[in-house]
Symmetry: C2
Subunit: 282 residues, 2 copies
Amino acid sequence: MKIITKFSIIQKEIKKAKKQGKTVGFVPTMGALHQGHLSLIRIARRENDLVVVSIFVNPSQFGPKEDYTKYPRNLELDAELCGKEKTDIIFYPGAKEMYPCGYNTYVTVERLSDTLCGKYRPGHFKGVATVVTKLLNIINPDIAYFGQKDAQQAVIIKKLVGDLNMPAKIKIMPTLREKDGLALSSRNVYLNPAERKDAPVLSQALDLAKGLVKRGVKDTTKIVDAMKHLIKKKKTAKIDYISIVGLENLEPLRKITGSCLIAEAVWIGRTRLIDNIIIGVN
Amino acid sequence: MKIITKFSIIQKEIKKAKKQGKTVGFVPTMGALHQGHLSLIRIARRENDLVVVSIFVNPSQFGPKEDYTKYPRNLELDAELCGKEKTDIIFYPGAKEMYPCGYNTYVTVERLSDTLCGKYRPGHFKGVATVVTKLLNIINPDIAYFGQKDAQQAVIIKKLVGDLNMPAKIKIMPTLREKDGLALSSRNVYLNPAERKDAPVLSQALDLAKGLVKRGVKDTTKIVDAMKHLIKKKKTAKIDYISIVGLENLEPLRKITGSCLIAEAVWIGRTRLIDNIIIGVN
């Protein structure tokens, strides 16, 4: 396994592999790898000749008051995990490599970036769209893999790849969870024991919603209210939003219909967690 | 020579050619081809195995009061000219092919897009950056060719290709001119005989500036004033701007130094013309 920090060098490696007819699978990450990431690397390994994992904590997607500096970083452990999953190349650029002095170009996916988490994290998805465009241009993968846990990110990336006519195929893989339902996230390490005990309420609220839909409840306000009621019972929890939206356009729904995304962002203490489920109704 | 209207089809053609080890040269145009375009196609022909010319009047780079609908279009003549220059493929997409319903993704090159023509044509360079990103993704050329006549566009495209880590090489070729100095432009057809007679004043003003610099004048205000004085003698002329800026950052200069761009936009009657020269000073 190689660790490469320069985009010009990895571009040459990829070009060489492509000339040999190899397919390239790509898993972009911010490091602090957990089983969710590893499940993406595993499927990339099964489906491609060359597997590239990028580890880059992207400054342009963090707000000024967010956790950019304290975001967990551990290259050694990450590299060990990638090695176990038979990753071929880790791309590990520095911030100056990705955003050199005078950097000026940004990609925005309008409308889709302003709703849900975009309302609470202005500029976040501009940073995500920009870095993903850059990484896809550098790695030029046949398939890039993302997790469903970041549902809005997944929708935005699929949209930008289609809109900008990028050649990569985007695959979104299911959220992995702890036994008690908590969605795997690099930010879970921030939780203290009391918060960790409260945190599964995000997935419990989604299960509640799923149950209500199963029993025929269609009114999204009723469902959201029931979820809020459940979450508010936890002392450490503070809701940013709970929304039920169309799966592709992320527009709010009054009635459950077609494919819906139920998405939520909840502060557990000083840690902001997100979770979601997709519900299909005929 | 093939004319292809669907991006999925041309992407397949290009992929096939690349698999055969062919290099791809690309000349993006809005049609209404003149000798300036043809000179780009000629050099693309010399330097590449496969030559692709795109013809697309890009709606997203025209303002609501600009000449999108009346911009000259003549596919038959353009195709004949491309054929004579041994173009392999013309990519001729419709507006719905490039911007399907629900299109949402835009590329912006900040700072560089807000100066010079960007001040007078808000949104113009966002449209240019977006369509060029899309076209480069679709055609995936080894080299793309642009004209120096659109100097700000050239700077912005080089910047975005670098910033977004796109693999294409960008070559900027010299402006071609009529015998009387008028820079070739598809918009020259708008000029009536009296306007056509006044139009060379743009290049005359640039020549004047060049002469002043040669004689040791360094003060950019003096140079711009002399240019303005000359242009204002023409009845049909109305200046949008004359600016002397750094060649890479497009920032205004008080003194001529290093590589400067002298750029101007002047209305001749109801036609907005642009022209520029690069001056290198040690």
